[in-house]
Structures are given as C-alpha cells and as structure tokens.
Symmetry: D2
Subunit: 138 residues, 4 copies
C-alpha cells in the first residue's frame, strides 16, 4: 500500500460546495503517479521517455462522504489483480477516521506510439505485485 496525503484545494469544489465527483479520478491518478514512483525514470519517464502508458479501460467510484475545501485526506493505493497486460488498482479515500470514497481502476499497459496494448514491463509488474492485496468483495 502506498499512501498519498492531500488537501482539497480552492478550485476543486463545485457549485454545491463539495469536491466535484469527477475530480476523485484525477486524485486517483495522482495517487497512481505516486504508486509507480519507483519504476525506471518514474511514472513520467514511463510515459515520456519509454512511451508506455496505462490508459484506463474501466473505472468506478463509490462516494460515502463529501470532501470540502481545506479538508485533509489520504489515498491508500493497492493492486487487486495483476494480469498479463492489465491490472486493477484500488484507491481508498479517507479523512481521519471518516471513510470518503473508493475508486477502482483497470489499466492496460500500452505502447503510446502505436496506441495498442503491450506486454507489461517488468518494473511495472514488480510495483504492482509488491502492493497486491486480496479483496473480499468483487
């Protein structure tokens, strides 16, 4: 599990005064960049130099409690499945003791030049396997 700590910023809320529901996926991506920090060249190097990306084929969120401007929260990232070319990530959002949201995310390792799936690089697989957990629910 890799944990990212974060606060809600000024422009991340919507007209209802809570963090915009779409933004949880941007937060999750931020957590994913931290999750893969240890691959060769970091996650940015994977994208920009090695031209391998992890586009989403599927994602979902369940929202339990809203976040407001200024609130601190953390995102705990784990892998819940590691396949040949794809993997499932899981991001659990909490603020103190309060459960906030869960995001799930299926990514496929992809050649960004050809824009098609490719074998998962070994260092990407190693990070995923190091943080692989079993989840009881689907």
């Amino acid at each position: 599990m890799i944990t990212l700590a974060r606060s809600v910023r000024f422009e991340e809320v919507d007209a209802a005064g809570i963090v915009f529901f779409a933004r949880f996926f941007a937060y999750a991506h931020e957590a994913m960049e931290a999750f893969f920090a240890d691959v060769d060249g970091g996650y940015a190097g994977l994208i920009m130099t090695r031209r391998v990306g992890l586009p989403a084929v599927k994602t979902a969120a369940e929202y339990a409690s809203p976040l407001r401007y200024g609130e601190s929260f953390r995102i705990e990232t784990t892998a819940t499945r590691v396949g040949g070319r794809s993997a499932d990530l899981r991001y659990v959002f909490a603020s103190g003791d309060r459960h906030v949201a869960v995001v799930t995310h299926t990514v496929v390792t992809s050649d960004l030049v050809a824009m098609r799936s490719c074998e998962m690089p070994d260092d990407v697989r190693r990070v995923l396997e190091r943080h692989l957990v079993e989840v009881s629910e689907a």
Copy 2:
C-alpha cells in the same frame, strides 16, 4: 434521450495525448446539465436557487476508444432507473460511428443546505421518466 454535441478542447488531453480518463465524468456532468435543462429554473436554478442537488453516490466508466484534441463527439443521455430519491443515468459517448465510452451515474436528490437526501422534486422526476429506457445488460 437527450444528445449533447461537443468537441475535445485543447486542454482536455493528457500527456499521453488523449482525453484524460477523469474528464469523461466532467463531460457526463455537462450532458446532465443539458438533460435537466427543462426543470424549473434549469439545472443551475435547481442548485443555486432551490438548493437541491444530485450528488453522485456511484459512478463508472468503460472506455472503448480514445478521443483526441479536435475530435467531435456526442453524448446520449438516458435514465435507466428512477427510484424514490435516487436515479441511474447512462451516458453513451460516440464519435461518428465509433463507440467511445459509456458512463453510468447514480445520483441522489439532496437538500444542499442540510446535505442529506430529500424527496425527488416532481419536475426532476418528470424529466427522468420522459427519458427512461430499459437496458438489457446491468
């Protein structure tokens, strides 16, 4: 079904050169604002004057084909379930003949002052029922 036509804007892509996966939810919300355009005062009036919102409790996306800067696409919005205080919306994204993505979205009518669920206003229900479809898959 309410259809929203849109083009990908300059800043809506990511470092992989395709529309950022989180942005499909912002696009879906834009389609939802168009979907509810006919409620009293429009969707913005619902939020700002009537102080009733439709926060997400659950959302999901399946991505079939990436969108790039400048591409035109459309979002077809329908309701797939209308409950007492909640409803399911479904947004189908396509660019010409190409299927792009599907977003699903469970919202709960909520009193934005008390920030708790409330009875669904009649005009909100009417819009949902007018565009209610049966979906074969879950």
Copy 3:
C-alpha cells in the same frame, strides 16, 4: 470580432462561489479556438496536423464583476496587434449589460516540433487582420 456565447458550468466555480480567476484564461482560449475556426483544418488542425501552435508569451486579466454558476456570458475576441511572428488578442467578457472582465494575450506562432517561433502562416494572419481593431488604451 468573433463572439462566443457560454454559460458557467457546475465545476467552474471555486470555494468562494465564483468562477475561479484562472479559468478566465481557459475561457479565453476557448474563444481563441472559435476565433481561428476558419484556418485550414480549424485550430485543432493547425495544432495536430500542421504542428503550428500559438503559445502565450504574455497574458493578463482585469476582473470587473464575478461570474456565478449558471450565468450566461459572451466573449468578444479581436486582434489588437499583428506582427511578423506574434500577435495580441483581446477578449472582452460581458453578461448582458454587465462588463465582467478583459483578458489580453500575446501569442507567438511556433513550430511545435522544434518548439521555436516560426513565420506566421498566411491563413492565421488573414484571420487576425480581418478582426484587427485599434484600442485607445494600452
């Protein structure tokens, strides 16, 4: 003058309940995409196919009156200077009779592959000259 009509969307406000000040520049860029709609391939074609861009070297805004969620506004775009490789654009924001903001924007025609300035393409120059106005103030 090219006019773009727009409404404030749900997620475009900040925790103070008004359109986030940085977003006026994104709105201005949206107006610029409309301004250059007539170049060969449209503005997106200029960027993606012809690989010529108009990165900002300078920009500024003056805010007269805040915008809130749901408000309609328009952006009137003109050129105020056309040089050899650069130009000044001016975006006047208004909502009904109410003056909202002015954004100014100096762009340089640039080869996006080499990422350095280039001669201004003729069709870009023609659009600028067609909408060139004199401004009394600096």
Copy 4:
C-alpha cells in the same frame, strides 16, 4: 519569500504537450494557499470559516520557458505592495536554473457574504508584510 515545490502532473499539459498557459494561475493560487498557511485557521479557514477571501482584480503572466509533464519546478512567492484593502503578489517560477515564468496578482480582501471589499485582517497583513520585497521593474 515562501517557496512551493511542485511537479507537473499528467493532466496539466495541453495538446501542444506543454503546461497549459491558464494553469500557471492555478499553480500561483496553490502557492498563495501555501503563502497564507499561517493565518488563523489557514487560508481555507479564512475562506470557509471567517468568510474573507482575496479575489483577484488583476493578474498577469510572462512565460519564458515551457514546462512539460514530469518536470519539477518551484514557485517563489513574495508581496510587492501592501495597501489598505489590497495587495500585490508576485510568483516566480523556476525549474533548476531555468527561469520559467512570472505571475503577478492583485487581490482585494473581501467579505465573501456581502461580496464587497473589507478591511484587511491583521494576520493577513502580517504575512504580506513579512514577505514584502521591493521590485526594481514595475
């Protein structure tokens, strides 16, 4: 001077592959939240609890060198003028030895309920005066 260290995130670039020009103002605001971290309740407390904000009346940027995905940069924030109800902030962006951009920002202390200017709170003034510098150019 308060320094904020930051990396460019995946979704912060545009279709030209560089950080979108509008985003520098969002970065500047992030630096401003760090700048005012020491006021009573932090900057978020100022907005959310004390209902005092610092809306922009004027802002500007000069761009010297583009930022790309994954690059690290820092923002050095100072005050360049402290008035009765308004102040000027200056944000200098650099990546290593490379100068990236300068943003200037005039803000007015405002009562967010009445949405009009108000006396500058003492703790806001103290932060500004502690980091006040003279600038040679305008």
